[in-house]
Symmetry: C2
Amino acid sequence: MKKHIYIYSPSGAVRDKAAFKRGIKRLQQLGHDVEVDADALTSHMRFAGDDATRLQSIHRACASGADVALISRGGYGLTRLLADIKYKDVAKAVDRGTQFVGLSDFTAFQLAVLRKTDRITWAGPALCEGFGVGGPGNVEAPDDIMEDCFNDMLLGQGEGSGWRMNAVPNALLEKPDVLLSKNGQIWGGNLSIVVSLLGTPYFPMVKGGILFLEDVAEHPYRIERMLTQLLHAGVLAQQKAVVLGQFTDYTLTSHDRGFKLQSVIAWLQATLKVPVLTNLPFGHVPTKVLLPVGAKAELAVNGRDAMLVWGHVG
Amino acid sequence: MKKHIYIYSPSGAVRDKAAFKRGIKRLQQLGHDVEVDADALTSHMRFAGDDATRLQSIHRACASGADVALISRGGYGLTRLLADIKYKDVAKAVDRGTQFVGLSDFTAFQLAVLRKTDRITWAGPALCEGFGVGGPGNVEAPDDIMEDCFNDMLLGQGEGSGWRMNAVPNALLEKPDVLLSKNGQIWGGNLSIVVSLLGTPYFPMVKGGILFLEDVAEHPYRIERMLTQLLHAGVLAQQKAVVLGQFTDYTLTSHDRGFKLQSVIAWLQATLKVPVLTNLPFGHVPTKVLLPVGAKAELAVNGRDAMLVWGHVG
């Protein structure tokens, strides 16, 4: 099935233009019609154009009528734009069938859209890191699981994801087979960005939800400090489950003396009554699933196996 | 004048024990009676003891009857303790005359105390970096200005600070001689920590205040993201002035292409109607003033000169 995919850059400037081109080539190989925003490769300091330029590119993505609006990459820049995004235009685009896909800095857009319009967007790949795999002159196949999930999203099929956790969550040791959520809202994304919206009018007020979190290049003490903020703000206790994805590319130091990501997870599981699930295949890693942010879902756990099903839950 | 100074470690473990010893020696040279908490040099992973240990050390500092309770160092660890601190004990200690002094991670304690008890604590040095200056075998004199300000605090004298800004604040170009605050509350500290309390019950609800901010090892894009959060939360617009201290020890990259700290300051000054003052001598630098967090103050600007006076403002 040929789909219309619109590529735009709402955050950081694209520096790896080879990856950008490979990504487009790959989507074309898959049979899609790829449209590239006029400012997708614009650069203004570290941004893909100044604020007005990036805002316009978002609004052009909304007006494109595309099946998918896919960010070129993350980086930094979306929080600067949140007050000026035309959320009604985003809602109209979603209602017409445009699926907004991205991750990392894009979490700011997704959560603001959820708060302002209650519309669903997709946590998933960016063009460059997701589809631009390969080296000089050769396009490699992207990660199978990611590409299958992307295809499922395009077809409206396969509405769910299962994965194996690192361990049975502490809170579930005595009831290893349990339905944690019947129709909780899936939400979350990049932990730094989720936390950077706390206290602002762009933070979604989700209760009874399924909060998923990932991050990159954040030391475990920073991850813990951010989780502490969500804890103290009462956000974590209001969820049916907290689902930790992949936390990657940080460096421990000799000062840590045994303090590590596992210490943070153990602390969170000991502190929070809500089950904390681990190892969701989502984050700054090749193998990741796509997740509909704002959709209602069932979440079931059986031993170390977790299963998240959205589809026709309501 | 001999004062009783209590040294304790509510945050990170002390690794530089030579600096710790030099700091104590310096305070003794100045004629003070230095009392060291039993767990000041305890270590548990990256922390100065586990949570219970560090909590007890805070409560022992409260019970010490000391004139000054001075942290050994910052690091990370105070946000973990905020729910369990006995704020009434802190308030009693302050009312009995104990002045709590510190910075960095200690900002979490100071702002929580302000929120819960409206008591004044001091943004100032930590023992190791402030007084532990020198090398193997020799104690050097700490920075003159810092030590003078510390002394002023001990004596209850010199209740104010003047400094020269980098430039006349944008918002004041047409009225260069102005009293910005008659009795606004001084508050703030480490930007990362201030922001990490947003949305929680430990964030002070200060209106018409004088908000000072500093940070270390945070890239300007992160500084901007944090300022954006305070902006979107409505915190900045509610102040009489935002006073930027020293932002140090970050590394720009080739991706920044001209984006730098000055870009962030220019953006903030263009975005915010409230005057943004620069170059306050406070932060992770030797030359710093002491500031009474929670005290009411006058803030006047004349051209590039700023003058903050607390003392008998009320």
